[in-house]
Amino acid sequence: MTTLQSDYQLSQLDQLEAESIHIFREVASEFEKPVLMFSGGKDSIVMLRLAEKAFFPAKIPFPIMQIDNGQDFDEVAETRDRWVRRLGVKLIVASIDDAIARGIVVDDGKTSRNRLQTPTLINAIEENGFTAAFGGGRRDEEKARAKERVYSHRDEFGQWDPKMQRPELWSLYNGRIHPGEHMRIFPISNWTELDIWDYIGREGIEIPEIYFSHKRRVFERDGMLLSETPLNPTREGEVVEERVVRFRTCGDITLTGCVESTASTIEEIIEEVAIAKVTERGATRGDDRFSEAAMEDRKKEGYF
């Protein structure tokens, strides 16, 4: 048997874990059809680990769903498949290519894949009849997220109305919804980027290789380092060169920037994150740069 702290004090990481597990169990108890949204990034992998712990030794009692934007990193899919096999969960893949083929979304050649994610996601939630969708959003990521509840109510269009949020008191979550509506659930709201890395280190959690330092052919655009890929042709004046980099977030390969880094172990990443001067989104997410309220606007439309 393991003895925990004898002074009845939990470390902050244990407190965060306990709170997240409580949220997972609450949703599994009260919602008819939950699903865990999985992007393959570090946050959704930590979410899988927390869900695994919440229901152990039983299997996770809901499927996981990935919105495949057709432009993901290969390493992400590989890690995803290993996790799915190990946990024995059902994986649903809703693909943007498929949504385009079925006419659910329109690819006008100008809209980013990231924006096409939202209608694809809402459609997949609707088609599968999901009443609750877990997301790995953290409040420290972005100022609009800092305002969002753990249970984030979405109307029948999947929209978020920041002014109509329900007060959230104690740990008493209110999951009431009307037919056609659903709830987005954010069990790791209170975790920071550093907490995520501390936890990955502590638990020995397997994450995609792209988070670790590696050589990659990259070019600079709008102050970000983007990967050379046929999906994202370079423009005039952009020079491709090999650099030693790693990623702080996982997303669309055409929009997700990497940072120059030699951190090749979790410990080195933690050191690097602890002294980082730029937020992970500021450093690496092209999709947040469209306007000051880019995230808020996308969330109102139904983005997670």
């Binding site: 009845y8 039983a58 008493l172 209110n174 501390d198």
Partner: protein
């Protein structure tokens, strides 16, 4: 790294111009929790608006309409850490939907931080902040007397406010009070000790936040384990496994403890306490664990596991302080849904005994309804018995929410009263 840090949750309260955003900005800035890209964004917005200073409030106003109107609409959560402790700030807005937002922020706080403007002294609002924090049983309170730079760092001004507040606080339930003179704008006594106020011998605000002792605030004597979820793998490896998952709400639970399951009243013994794939020797709040019992008795979500000689009494008649949170008033005979720990049912409002004037603490027995942002003493009759404790004993088993059954919206927050 960080894994051994502990956690302090605190709620801030202050009127519009008390400098709350500046203070939060300063705490984040001085603990190096603001990133360059965030600061640049705030600087460029400040410039484009023609300000001749960097408006740190822009850091904390996350929504478009907040930035447009220059007001804070809703509770926001902020995070920062020092080498020893991680902090979660529930930043509650100072006006409009004031009480309900403060109640929301205070419900999970270990500490409440109230700001007053040294030039104004105690206002009606500062008293109201303190009353709400006291009603919500936030165990630690800090009164930060801000803008000391604007009163020439005068000790007499501080003394006067300190005396006045201390005498007011004796009417409230505030186990731990600290009063600190600061200047959020100039940084005096926020993180670094002020040279302008050598007469002040107490801690800086940050030092106090880092060292205030919160581990003993939880009740470790009265075991309360609301059953949240029944774990039944039915797999080959765990064919007979039957575990009751939940988060400890009070007390310490150990294997071998004799327990009673409520409301059925069946007794058994704790066979093991599982934390993922570990069997642990004890569980205490706020751990999320899975409990197995020696006997195969019927236990389901909404039940409560407690020690045999110290169990809550199931009751359908609830006497509580309720904070009402919606425009349509609360009236007698109204029916609502109620959620208490993992138990849900319906509740009928039998009586509204009085409305509490949170400025004067006067009990108004004439008005038989509660408007938005009002707090009053309410008698409820519930369809299911609640397994509750007084809120003064346990903030988890003593609290509930009320839900409008038609809209699904959370309309009330309740705190169960001590038996008279």
């Amino acid at each position: 790294m960080g894994t051994q840090m502990d956690l302090l949750r605190f709620a801030t309260a202050g009127s519009v111009d008390d400098g709350k955003s500046t203070l939060i900005g300063r705490l984040l800035l001085d603990s190096k929790s603001i990133f360059e890209d965030q600061l640049e964004a705030v600087e460029s917005t400040s410039q484009s608006r023609g300000y001749d200073y960097t408006d740190l409030a822009l850091l904390t106003d996350g929504l478009r309409s907040e930035r447009e109107q220059g007001i804070t609409i809703d509770v926001a959560y902020r995070y920062f850490a020092t080498p020893n402790r991680k902090f979660i700030i529930a930043d509650t807005p100072g006006h409009v939907q004031y009480t309900r937002n403060m109640v929301t922020g205070a419900s999970t706080a270990d500490l409440g931080l109230v700001l007053v403007d040294a030039r104004q002294g105690l206002t009606e609002q500062s008293r109201r902040h303190a009353v709400i924090l006291s009603l919500l049983r936030v165990p630690h309170l800090v009164l930060a007397v801000n803008k000391m730079d604007l009163v020439d760092f005068d000790e007499d001004v501080f003394e006067r406010i300190q005396k006045e507040f201390s005498s007011f606080a004796t009417k409230l339930n505030i186990p731990d009070l600290e009063i600190i003179p600061i200047s959020a704008l100039q940084g005096d006594n926020v993180v670094t000790r002020s040279e302008n106020m050598d007469w002040y011998k107490g801690p800086t605000l940050m030092h106090h936040l880092e060292h205030v002792h919160v581990a003993s605030d939880r009740d470790l004597h009265t075991s309360r384990f609301p059953v949240q979820y029944v774990v039944r793998p039915k797999s080959d490896d765990f064919h007979d496994y039957r575990g009751y998952a939940g988060q400890l709400a009070g007390g310490v639970l150990k294997p071998g403890d004799e327990v009673i399951v409520l409301p059925s009243g069946m007794t058994s013994t704790v066979a093991s306490i599982d934390l993922f794939d570990n069997e642990i020797t004890q569980a205490f709040p706020p751990m999320s664990v899975t409990v197995r019992l020696e006997d195969d008795i019927d236990v389901s979500r909404g039940d409560m596991i407690a020690r045999v000689n110290n169990a809550p009494k199931p009751s359908q008649d609830i006497d509580a302080m309720v904070c009402w949170m919606t425009n349509e008033p609360l009236r007698p005979r109204q029916k609502l849904a109620i959620k208490h720990t993992t138990r849900t049912g319906r509740a009928l409002v039998k009586d509204i005994q009085y409305r509490l004037d949170i400025n004067t603490l006067h009990r108004d027995q004439e008005t038989k309804e509660l408007g938005v942002n009002e707090i009053g003493r309410v008698q409820l009759r519930t369809t299911v018995p609640l397994l509750c404790d007084p809120y003064s004993k346990n903030r988890t088993t003593g609290s509930f929410i009320l839900i409008d059954e038609a809209t699904g919206v959370t309309v009330g927050a309740g705190m169960i009263n001590d038996a008279d």
